[in-house]
Symmetry: C2
Subunit: 350 residues, 2 copies
Amino acid sequence: MTDALRSIDLAVIPGDGIGPEVTAEAVKVLRAVAGDDVRLTLTEYTLGAQHWLETGETLSDETLGKLRGHDAILFGAVGAAPGDTRIPSGLIEREFLLKLRFSLDHFVNLRPSRLYPGVPSPLAAPGVIDFIVVREGTEGPYTGNGGTLRGGTPHEVATEVSLNTAFGVERAVRDAFTRASARRRKLTLVHKHNVLVYAGHLWKRTVEAVAAEFPDVSHDYLHVDAAMIFLVTDPSRFDVIVTDNLFGDIVTDLAAAVSGGIGLAASANLNMERTAPSMFEPVHGSAPDIAGRQIADPTAAILSAALLLRHLGLDEHAARIEQAVEEDISSRTTDRRTAAVGDAIAAAVS
Amino acid sequence: MTDALRSIDLAVIPGDGIGPEVTAEAVKVLRAVAGDDVRLTLTEYTLGAQHWLETGETLSDETLGKLRGHDAILFGAVGAAPGDTRIPSGLIEREFLLKLRFSLDHFVNLRPSRLYPGVPSPLAAPGVIDFIVVREGTEGPYTGNGGTLRGGTPHEVATEVSLNTAFGVERAVRDAFTRASARRRKLTLVHKHNVLVYAGHLWKRTVEAVAAEFPDVSHDYLHVDAAMIFLVTDPSRFDVIVTDNLFGDIVTDLAAAVSGGIGLAASANLNMERTAPSMFEPVHGSAPDIAGRQIADPTAAILSAALLLRHLGLDEHAARIEQAVEEDISSRTTDRRTAAVGDAIAAAVS
Ligand SMILES: CC(C)[C@H](C(=O)O)[C@@H](O)C(=O)O
Ligand SMILES: CC(C)[C@H](C(=O)O)[C@@H](O)C(=O)O
């Protein structure tokens, strides 16, 4: 299927550290694949730790309003160097990144894991790794609920409240089943319902209920601790994993690690109701230690751009990028500069 | 150092599934290593899923009172077959296992990970794996706090509350530093303080404060997601990990997997204030699918018995078991029956 002439209007947030380098390559590839049949409009936004240091803005209502006007957001990475004490720890993560995910209702945090042929895995016998994680993105332990009583005293009590709603769990679970029915038709719920009884049972009941709508999809359940074991002993068993925000954070970093590293791991923060733009970002962070040296692998950012195109209905263009990445990866012989990887993939998709 | 004549009075809870089989071997080895210089008194308690089905008891106050009278508890595993719908999911885990850990104030859940020579790891290049995890055992998301509002309706809200106290965090952190100073002097805090701000900062501040008492121990910090990556790409970097109850659950299963599997992973639930007996158990569960067939590996149970002896001050006896296990593992050629493994190790320690 070829796509008719389309215009897409993207916000681009390069961010900090290696963010600008890898985003530049993703943009390069997007332009190349767009060619003459997709009219691409790009608006760059300067945001992140450095921007906060200079202006005090993490993400203003005004900027958020502007971002809402785009079809999608391509995002690099944000975050200060670990040693930089001028930036309160976690501030940018919460007031920029999580604020975006929550404000734009990115309830599906989609993270595919695929071990491309020729890519080394830390596993001795990885087998075929090809699964996706649907991580709920707008609730769970990520809502910022909690507090501190008697802070700094020997009687301090700190709480964290995980909030889970039928509404929130169900839309994530339904999305996961929908994706499973278009894949190998196997869904695995990962949670810890033997301990986290209230949230766990909501998730379990919801999976049972939605499963009835997808008789072609089989489903099973793993406690998060057992999932750790399977991810390193038998990752081929997974097709679609659905899980909450925090377990999803943990599972997807391990999934990325076993399938070739976070240099290759793409992600999509999806508002599947399309009431606001979705956001596409590599799983990796800003890696300030290697920033500006043209040694970061832009593949994760480039694959995130492919997820962006697919979300906007440009499946054929997305597939071209994925195909080009696959060929590029399996033919890599030496470490190449960031721009050289982008050049090669851009050339292949033009 | 040889130990003087000692009497130790143990409660033994074989439990369900493979629990009785592996516990029998641990007892066999304990008897052998005790020989003439340790007087061993063993009292067996029938508890677990099967016992609940027969009697309705998970863990009565009366039983708990009796258990308190022993020097330590050797525990196998509990849990019904996954398909057994007669047992409410998680009941035995919470009302027996977690109840024991909480009632007996097992605030240090100690889980060593060591890749023995000759043991295959799922990692292609595991390197030297030899670290311990100090998992806090009495608070965090495990306290059973939380609830359900409008359960079963489309407006359901389920909460889980993680409770963390300066008192609870500090005693776990101090224990971890103490162990680190007797090992390779490196402590890693694993948490997610960029998102779980309140609990995360309590943990971070506590580590900084206690670190001042241990100038010989260096310490660093990893978000739990980053820890996942290092556990499969560079597990040698770890010496002592300290973390909360839920992250500890997750980290230790992955740690067990990369260091040869949960068939080898021992654990200790320690009350380091010695106000109640500590409990020693393999990390694995009751594995009903392989129960009664003499194919379960009793090594984790046997190593847990070694941790028990060490906790009771019988270091030399503990070391003998660990030495025998190491030799047994590296000389294994075929899969042996459960009892044969126990026989071999018992013979070696006598
Ligand atoms: C930076 C952090 C807040 C974020 C998360 O925890 O979601 C990151 O780890 C991720 O997975 O995208
Ligand atoms: C059975 C379960 C409650 C338990 C836990 O979560 O602590 C187990 O997974 C463990 O690690 O000992």
